[in-house]
């Protein structure tokens, strides 16, 4: 009997998993995550044991040792997750209906339950871009006292989770998530939405807010606000926003979203040492920049 499991909606989009026995998936364990109201049709992911066949797929690139991305020749993408542990099967995620439906084939049924986080996060990021709703952002985020969100972008090791932990101790900000946000384009501008996929700090709280400021995380011996040329800012955005690289039209729209983003929200690099006054300095700077 096929099992159907639903996640809470992320930025209004729920994810429904159809799991064919003997597969058994484990959802993300996020007690503080309850999702948003559903406003869009769900993303459906069908999981089943089956062949991991990449015939006809065009390899795009490898992310060693974890996965390989492909273009499927029909405007969609596919991801092959390599077996880095003998107990975990090779898997293949394929697009069935862009933005709506995806299949995941497992080379064999593992004895242990499989975490569904990886496939869920990938399918969501793909669908968000394919729906032209927005892009998945690799960054932490928190809501400032003004009610606007600060989106703090950075690659792994940049200090996103450290920043989120710092902000968690404050009463005047609300931390959304320390690693992944949905950045969407709404009628009134960009919004930042928390997701159930945290980083090393394990923070995944409910919430969303209009985007107030984009912060790039830097390092310096003394606190400094750096204005960076647009070209450098865009380069950083390209490495921290999940663009749909498998489809020319979708990629063009994604680049257009970045163009709108830098035109509508301040982007600033804050570089700072870690210390007792750091979080206050960051909040003060972001509030000042956002209010300008």
């Amino acid at each position: 009997m096929m099992q159907v499991e639903s996640s809470q909606a992320i930025a209004g989009i729920p994810i429904v998993h159809h799991v064919a026995p003997p597969l058994h998936l484990v959802p993300p364990q996020m007690p503080d995550w309850h999702g948003t109201a559903t406003t869009e049709t769900p993303i459906v992911i069908r999981h089943a044991v089956g062949p991991v066949d990449v015939t006809g797929l065009e390899p795009l690139f490898d992310i060693e040792p974890w996965m390989t991305y492909y273009a499927d020749g029909a405007g969609g993408t596919a991801i092959r997750y390599h077996s880095v542990d003998a107990a975990i099967p090779e898997r293949l995620l394929r697009t069935v209906r862009p933005g709506v439906e995806y299949d995941v084939s497992y080379a064999f049924a593992p004895e242990q339950p499989v975490e569904r986080r990886g496939k869920e996060m990938s399918a969501y990021a793909i669908a968000l871009a394919e729906r032209r709703r927005g892009l998945m952002a690799h960054g932490s985020a928190f809501i400032l006292p003004s009610g606007k969100a600060a989106l703090c972008l950075g690659v792994s090791g940049a200090g996103k989770s450290t920043l989120a932990r710092m902000m968690l101790e404050r009463d005047d900000v609300r931390v959304l998530n320390d690693d992944r946000q949905a950045l969407t384009r709404e009628p009134d501008g960009f919004h930042v939405w928390s997701t159930p996929w945290p980083g090393s700090a394990g923070i995944a709280n409910d919430g969303h807010a209009p985007l107030g400021v984009v912060m790039l995380i830097g390092r310096a011996a003394t606190p400094v606000v750096r204005r960076r040329p647009a070209r450098e800012v865009v380069r950083t955005l390209l490495t921290t926003l999940a663009l749909p690289n498998w489809n020319d039209d979708a990629l063009g729209d994604g680049l257009g979203l970045i163009d709108d983003l830098v035109a509508s929200a301040p982007v600033v690099e804050l570089a700072y040492p870690l210390g007792p006054g750091t979080s206050q300095w960051i909040v003060d700077q972001l509030m000042e920049i956002e209010e300008r």
């Binding site: 690139f61 992310i63 991801i79 793909i126 800012v233 390209l238 663009l243 489809n247 680049l255």
Partner: protein
Amino acid sequence: MSTEGTLYVRAPGFVARRVAGETLLVQTSARSLQPIQRSTDLLVLNATAEQLWNLLASPVSLEGMAQYLIQDFEVDPATARADAESFVVSMVDLGAVSPLNEVRES
């Protein structure tokens, strides 16, 4: 390179888009859903390169590109030919532009 009469055209897999006041040329396979693992190579096209890229939406020869530069950028023929050839060579090396016969064969 031997270019006399050769027609060139954009190869698939590249997107040019104006972002933050600059025209970026991005390869579709150069981006990742897991950007932590990737560095991004992107090209910024100047005004001349942007216009030549636009011309290359349809097959065009070096002579055709040079003629365009002569008319719209008011450069002398030798400079226009050299600029067009330099641009096409760099784009062919990148894989963003192909001689038309190669596009037809691929």
